[in-house]
Symmetry: C2
């Protein structure tokens, strides 16, 4: 069969070509497909379902912390976008611009939103009048467009799905707290759902968002030794507020500018999850984000009683709240095994005539390949336990990799060796952008963040030899 042929094609091995392995997995696990427009991808059901799991978690966390969802227009008039100078300079080179509407030219061309700060500010200027109107804690789920030259599925696209939070606060302190609180939520998404240990910290001035006073990020270290910026939160001060004339009457009766934040994560997190955990057999999905947690495969399903028993097992898993599917197609068990391994389903439950006779099933763990024979009476409890064990094993493995690939360096030779090994070169830094630039020129590595957990291990910048008090993580990055 044609279809089987495609499915069973081997994917490139990670050690042969990690980038090609990644693309192979994206396509063969049916996460995405290319569209007719370069850089715009199609999120196929299995890929989109991962995004829905991420959305479910974050949307709940956002609402629990008092945020409300809104929806702003997908277009921004050029004149409005230009109101904050640094911001437009940062985004202008990658804008998609519409200038024909209903067959007629549009006077003030419309930028398809690359991010929505200016739209929120334009609205906030109308609705914020008094300190009683603050804070405003808005979030939006949408897609944004950035006209990128080089694109890769989920990692860098002309259009991607994301959420963007935009908040306004009475005081600087409150806004700064928000910036860090939302970074925490992102970090917990990694820790508790994606099984990815993020490195959290502040961006250098060179790397921060156009228009922000401070940017914080979560960075994930990928198995090819490159870092992936996986989410950011920004503190803006009141720069935008002033540019947009947003003022409120304070408790003192005087007019003030509110303090602003924004924060976002995108479908790039799907890319992070694929790379962080995948292996040469395909995807390995962390159970809490897996669209299908349990795949049931009947063995010798034509034998009497097998399908009935498999459906009974399915029912038990479904009733216990598992996201479960049964593969009773007419393909061979071997084909099904590799298909669902490719798709990274955390638990495979097999049962054939002999298992049924013995009242047991075989449970296989995708992350380790380990097989467990389990009585049908205990399979639900066992699987609930396994889901947590697998999550922990996957997190621990990624964390161990992160530790093993974070190297403290004291000079440029060690810096280069650390990069060669792959991962972070952890360096004391003078804080000077010239050193940052020089390192980038020499090594192509960039400052990923100044981690919150600073713990200085020296006092000299290996680049200029001057006094250094900041710990910074450098790495090659996506």
């Amino acid at each position: 069969m044609d279809n089987n042929q495609i499915k069973n094609d081997a994917i490139t091995r990670q050690e042969d070509d990690f980038a090609q392995w990644y693309t192979d997995v994206c396509r063969k696990a049916e996460l995405m497909d290319y569209s007719s427009v370069k850089g715009f991808i199609i999120y196929r059901p299995y890929g989109y379902a991962i995004w829905e799991q991420i959305q479910n978690y974050l949307d709940r966390r956002f609402k629990e912390t008092g945020h409300e969802n809104v929806y702003m227009p997908m277009v921004i008039p050029e004149s409005l976008f230009a109101r904050e100078k640094e911001h437009i300079e940062g985004f202008a080179p990658e804008c998609l611009i519409a200038n024909i509407g209903g067959s007629a030219p549009i006077d003030d061309p419309l930028i398809i939103r690359p991010t929505s700060e200016v739209l929120f500010c334009d609205h906030y200027a109308k609705i914020i009048k008094s300190y009683r109107d603050l804070p405003k804690l808005y979030n939006q789920w949408c897609s944004v467009v950035r006209w990128e030259k080089t694109t890769r599925p989920f990692l860098r696209g002309a259009e991607f799905l994301w959420q963007e939070g935009h908040t306004m606060h009475e005081t600087e302190e409150e806004a700064r707290t928000e910036t860090l609180k939302m970074l925490d939520i992102y970090n917990e998404l990694g820790r508790d759902v994606l099984a990815i240990p993020f490195s959290c910290g502040r961006k250098t001035d060179k790397e921060k968002f156009s228009g922000a006073l401070e940017t914080y990020s979560i960075e994930a270290l990928m198995p090819d030794g490159k870092a992936l910026q996986s989410g950011t939160t920004h503190y803006f001060g009141n720069g935008f507020a002033e540019a947009f004339g947003i003022q409120f009457q304070g408790r003192d009766g005087k007019l003030h500018s509110p303090h602003q934040t924004s924060w976002g994560v995108s479908t790039r997190l799907i890319g992070a999850t694929i790379m962080a955990h995948g292996d040469d057999n395909g995807l390995v999905l962390p159970p809490r984000v897996a669209p299908i947690q349990v795949i049931i495969i009947p063995i010798a399903q034509n034998k009497p009683g097998v399908l009935t028993a498999a459906k009974e097992v399915f029912k038990q898993f479904a009733n216990a709240g598992f996201r479960v599917k049964i593969d009773d197609s007419d393909k061979t068990p071997g084909w099904k095994f590799s298909e669902w391994e490719m798709k990274g389903v955390p638990l495979r439950v097999e049962l054939g005539p002999r298992d049924i006779e013995k009242g047991q099933v075989v449970i296989a763990k995708r992350n380790t390949g380990e097989k467990i024979i389990c009585s049908m009476d205990e399979m639900i409890e066992k699987s609930q336990e396994l889901v947590n064990i697998i999550h922990k094993e996957m997190y621990d493995k990624a964390y161990k990799y992160l530790l093993n690939h974070t190297t403290e360096v004291h000079n440029l030779k060690e810096f280069n060796e650390a990069l060669e090994k792959g991962g972070y070169a952890k360096m004391m830094w003078c804080g000077n952008v010239e050193c940052e630039n020089k390192i980038k020129d020499l090594t192509n590595a960039t400052a990923r963040c100044l981690p919150f957990n600073q713990m200085p291990f020296g006092d000299t910048c290996p680049c200029c030899g001057k006094k250094a008090s900041k710990v910074v993580l450098f790495a090659k990055a996506y």
Copy 2:
């Protein structure tokens, strides 16, 4: 206070100017705001939350019936859009077109999606090979852009939020069944959630979707006597499939074209809900779609014990699964009453010192104004009951209005009288488009649908006098 001033402004009365009443409610209930771009609105938290309730219901129903969510690009190359002729002719006049990307002109200009049939077909051509790949039951939640000249909040916008289902089937019968099944789900959304009795039926050829063989719709009758098309489902046959070269190997080993459907509802449903139920005090929201179902208002909240008791009541409602909010702001109870009436919250729970003494609360129904005194022990059970009663009362009221404004007409004089009264002129029709056109020219009414429940009441077309066997609902429409 400024803010109070704004809130307490009276809104236009329905009988004075229904259109102005509608706009007033949209803005004063804080459902939406205008943006800097004409026709593009801002969905404010309270308006967006209604959409989230609709999404929750529909997304569950779609998944239960085997549909999967995907996400397609927001842009369509002009050349791709042009592949199905009728389709592009229908949409070309209202397209927004981007032709600058990253500061350079784009060779094949990009249409911001007004609907995504061609994107789905382009993808289906790649992934449908065999009857085993069918059916494909995809749905997408997104926004679309239609460059309309005249726009009204939620009813007709340059950009609106919607879902679009696009499915492919092995047989015509299966596709036709799908088209009707999804219309049923829309109808049930009206019946069970929005408390709107939709009229369901088939569109005339003149009114059907560009490129469809058949279009079905749910139509809602508004209190100003105009019909609002609230959702449509389309059967395409295999016209698009042939234009896009989608073929599958059938059970007979030969190549066939699959049969296609699409279906969608949009944030227009918010507009339908506002108009169907609202009154001169503002919104009246059906309980199952209301973002806040219960608003608790403490009376004399500075008196000792009042706020504590109100918070206890809040907790009980929250634990029972109500969407509940407490308004303990420093505004007067009177101001709060009209504020939450404006926002259409179905149940208001008041409690003051005397109520607390007696162990009771006062529950007020937004739809009728009726007040019920209820012991705190019974308030949860009573409110659960009231939610269902209110839903039924609201549905029944709208249904009664629909019955009273559906007039069987036998000649053009009666037709005009029916329109003057407001609502549907129900007419026997010869099936000829000339009569449909003539009626539109004479009366500005259009054929809304041929209702499923046909029940002919004559055999002569009042327009041409020829034999008529079809029952059709005409009305002025949004």
